[in-house]
Amino acid sequence: MSPENPTRREVLGLAGSGLFVIFPAQTPRPGYPADFNAYLRIDADGRVTCLVGKVELGQGSKTALAQLLAEELDVALESVDMVMGDTDVCPWDGGTHGSLSIRQFGPVLRGAAAEARAVLLELAAERLGAPVGRLQVKAGVVTDSQAAGQRVTYAQLVQGKRIERHLEKTPLKAVAGYTVVGQSPRRKDALDKVTGRAKYAGDMAVPGTLHARILRPPAHGATLKDADTTAAEKVAGVRVVKDGDMVAVLHERRDVADQVLDLIKARFDRPRPGQDDKTIFDHLLKAAPEGRVVDQSGDIVQGAQASENLVEKTYLNSYVAHAAMETHSATAMIEGGKVTVWVGTQSPFGVQQQVAQALGFTPQNVRVVTPYVGGGFGGKSAARQAIEAARLAKLTGKPVQVVWDRAEEFFYDTFRPAAVVTIVSGLTRAGKISVWDYKVYCAGDRECKQFYDIPHQRTVSAGGWSGASTPGLHPFGIGPWRAPSVNTNTFARESHIDILANKAGVDPVEFRLGHLSDKRVRRVLEAAAKQFDWKPAPTPSRRGVGVACAIYLGTYVATMAEVTVDKSTGRVEVKRVVCAQDQDVTVSPDGSRQQMESSITMGLGYALTEEVRFKDGEVLERNFDTYRIPRFSWLPKIETVLIENPETPASGCGEPPIVTMGAVVANAIFDAVGARMFQLPMTPARILEALKRG
């Protein structure tokens, strides 16, 4: 067993004393207890343990959740231990997806802490002989405000007792009284990460582990005809496993397994479905499921009639990979009829179900432990590697580790879907947008709704980002990718708004403000313009500046960028990015800024280079030589402006700025050279083409 993870017995300490708060499930699921989701435990030594099914993907949720807990409970942040993503000890959770940890889970956690505090205060009142109203708490010590020296600690209060409470509606602390939330403490994972002690799923050293490499098809849709493993079997210490469609070689050294895999001679039946990264867009338009009206107001026909002329454009974006630095990894061990799988996943309870099904075990006999995860971005929800490791552990009777190489990572990634957006719109003689007819294919409907003031508008979405939606639509797996659907929708909307501003001959910021009654969008836009020192001018002003706005799950962003475009090579350099973000209560300002910087940096990739090329089911990207992700030399000067709204609950903010990066760069390119980009990524070749088009 991993020394880092306690067992359920240890956590619930059947014989142990302590205070336990059980709080209700967010998303009840059949077969799971309906009334609780996570535990909070206060120990007789004063340490607070919080057990949540969420995982730490790098965004700092481990620290932020601990801050919320420490705040509400009035204990020191250092006394809080987080145990995350272990199916044996943490109650069920639907998975860690993007910015949602704090948004969905924060209120529950705060409620539980408030409940625990209320119980402790009752006990303290009894112990100190003072009414609850007179008591004060600081760092886990309760004092009587009217009797100096009268004190008792949380630890003393729970000593020798076993108290279990279900969450009730206890009032929460007012934001004005916050002392921990709103600070930027040292992250709880910091020391592990700078010392190299942080363990990921491929770092689990279970004695006797065999490292597996699995034979892969050359393309999606290909099936194995036969595999000659004679040469592989001759290598000392190698085990060859053939089980159904799986052929694997295992060795106690990973690099030996790598070499042995190459000794297998395999033949595949390979259909030629005929799609590639150029033809895919036509295919998507034809094969997309029927559209659904997401939003509508006024009358499109009337709006079109009120327009001087209609502007009709189509926007495309390619498949994009998650490309986390840690490839999909898992270590599985079976002992006494129970399998433990250490796996880097965003969804430990989902993996538990999948592994149980694959092995024919009951879920109770599957323990999924989530160590540190080396980046997720939506790509570590599917956990094929965990099933592979578990199957091979069962077949060989040995602990088995599966760590995909980079080519497997690209092959089995669940990409951000390629997508198409069509927009028909028009301006009145007075330069106001009169009509907006928006249709998005295959990206999903999240935030596709228009937020500018347009009297006649309709938004339709056809097909989503969930891989299961329409079989045969995509040639390989697709799924959520940082801020699913919103990158696509924002690129299209904000590019198109810029085109209209240009047609109206109005500065793009002024044009936007002229169509914005939403106060929060106005506020971020004005804040960004101030920081950027935006000087109004119609486009193309040849300065290479651009703007884009977005709303993402209750967070508001406005981004401005400055670029240079080399007209002879088509190369774009992003010099400066200013991003203003209006969010709810900020748990950690430094954490928020870091997330903003990071999503701006990451967003440069899908804007400029990232694109999965493929042909006939074969994924042509195999490593970072062709699939180019942002690097140090791309780094613009990044400036962030945070606007807080203390009246609304904390929502976390991993992703919002990323959604503006496609459009802000496209708009800045247009401002620089007068060439409008309609397809992401905006590679040098596409920019040269657009320049030629004029």
Partner: protein, 159 residues
């Protein structure tokens, strides 16, 4: 060819009898249990597997073990002396120059090699030197700041 290779690993003598073509990456991870040395690409394209050989940052995934015979190899486990953090680690920690942390050991060791050679690097030098170390989480801004801070606190006295 099966051979015994002797080298210095994190200041201590090390010996291993292996096929001398095996990569330093998997020998360090597999035979020595040094899991801070990360596998990211296996093709010298990401820097996650960076270690220090003598004084240079080296991609261990592209280095056969025979190449380090008789040499000094340093992984991040050997960077913090007497359990005290190296100033670069300290700066990464204070600046939160990481998110998922997977690229971090490689980043810190690359930065270490830079500061050995150039104790006071200009920002442009940092960027040039670090450019082949990839970080998918987008921690670049903080990493550059952390290296600048470490260079300042080491006052030119890299160790």
């Amino acid at each position: 060819m099966q051979r015994t290779i002797s080298f210095t690993l994190n200041g201590k003598p090390a010996r291993v009898t292996v096929d001398d073509q095996r990569t330093l990456l998997w020998v360090l991870r597999g035979d020595f249990g040094l899991t801070s040395v990360k596998f990211g690409c296996g093709a010298a394209l990401c820097g996650a597997c960076t270690v220090i050989v003598e004084k240079a940052a080296v991609r261990s995934c592209a280095t056969p073990i025979k190449d380090v015979a008789g040499k000094r190899v340093l992984t991040i486990e050997g960077l913090s002396q007497d359990r005290e953090l190296h100033p670069i680690q300290d700066a990464f920690l204070k600046r939160h120059a990481f998110q998922c942390g997977f690229c971090t050991p490689g980043m810190i060791l690359s930065a270490y090699a830079l500061l050995l050679k150039t104790p006071r690097p200009a920002r442009a030098e940092i960027i040039r030197h670090m450019d082949d170390n990839l970080c998918r989480c987008g921690s670049h801004v903080r990493i550059v700041e952390a290296i600048q801070e470490a260079a300042g606190s080491m006052k030119g006295g890299a160790r």
